[in-house]
Symmetry: C2
Amino acid sequence: MKRTERVGSIIHILTRNPNKAYSLQYFCDFFGAAKSSISEDIKTCNEALDIVGMGRLETETGAKGGVKFVPHISKEALLKLQEEFCEKLSDSSRMLGGNFLYTSDIFFDPQFVKRLATVFAVKFKDCQADYVATVETKGIPLATEVAYLLNLPLVIIRREAKISEGSTVSINYFSGSYDRIQRMSLSKRAIRQNSKVIVIDDFMRGGGSISGISEIVSEFNSSIVGIGVAISSIEPKKKKIDNYTSIIQLGDIDFENKKIETLPTFDII
Amino acid sequence: MKRTERVGSIIHILTRNPNKAYSLQYFCDFFGAAKSSISEDIKTCNEALDIVGMGRLETETGAKGGVKFVPHISKEALLKLQEEFCEKLSDSSRMLGGNFLYTSDIFFDPQFVKRLATVFAVKFKDCQADYVATVETKGIPLATEVAYLLNLPLVIIRREAKISEGSTVSINYFSGSYDRIQRMSLSKRAIRQNSKVIVIDDFMRGGGSISGISEIVSEFNSSIVGIGVAISSIEPKKKKIDNYTSIIQLGDIDFENKKIETLPTFDII
């Protein structure tokens, strides 16, 4: 086999399985090649990935060591993504009644969601998290992608306890957006005790729903180690939670003049 | 730039954007290389991808032409996936009351879901579909991945009409699994008229929920061109819909002896 093909194959295997470590031995066996050749190949893979600029290979030593693909987004690519996102969200045809904006087309566009997910995968890569959690429904594709990029299982908190979830833990919380008490439920099988959880959601206004997630997670003696929301609302300034990361911010929605104010969040990564 | 690195970069760009056509000119501009060199590179990329066996590059001519990565799964890899899936599902600790099995761990495992999604992406690649649709909640990660692999937008049908969906179309249908009337709703903005839709779900018993999706899709003068469910139940034999593809089948659940019967579906692709 030619070296070029081997390098191409290694790139495909590693980038398809982000944050999953493969031993050099794995590739030696796969290609029937010497360790020294594979080491050389990995270097070349990294040079190839640098050109595209969407991630790098990192080598870890030790028993669980090996080489893995770690997604990355450059500052320029992030700013471009934020500008595109702001432009999408500012489209006045999104305006619905009751201060709501239609955003399903954005959060159900798998390619766009993958780019947003990369931001959180970079932000939270060193959190040592065990799970990525979200509450149904609109943030699920985004959370799925973040979980995939971080090589973690996904946890979906339901609005209602379902028979197919087995026994569940439920809590009530106040949602400012809907101005009423809401309920969320999580299967007792979904999270091991003493885990670390990253929370991902599409939108945050006052933080009620994320503080609900925090409460339900603490029922599992587990804690939140990162919070990422795609869009945060500037108002109310005082949120029920601290230390969240949003990609862009939503300002005033002026229904009369059909203007939606948006701005990128700076210094995310 | 060395040729090996260029090949590695091209593989990364194409495989990260499945079923999206890139013109040769795109790569000529990106790398500052001649068309003849890029043509050679594409051939080498294909040889590299053949080694890994998870997809191939296809070249289309014409105005919308270009080269694209088309995911693939070999018959052997499919059978291995099915066996793994059957083994997971047969685990008796999944048994819940009321003839239900706990499957969230399977459907919320992004890596496993990506493998399942590849089966449907291969099956439905020539459907000329405009959307991939599912009804919340458990099939969303799978449907997201299928949509991603086919380069299509995702449509999520909700159980309840939400303010944030704007005006919606709603229908009632009878769910055999839950033995009651259920409701589903879809935003009027979600699907253009006269579209073709692939439906993806995690599980099908009698087909009530998918026939509900079919009904709601027809309200948009649109039609279903493919149905993929990860698990289909053998009973009832008579389903409310025909022409679906399942990856594995669920047979008898014997609560007393803690046995769950499963088998692969043959001749899927």
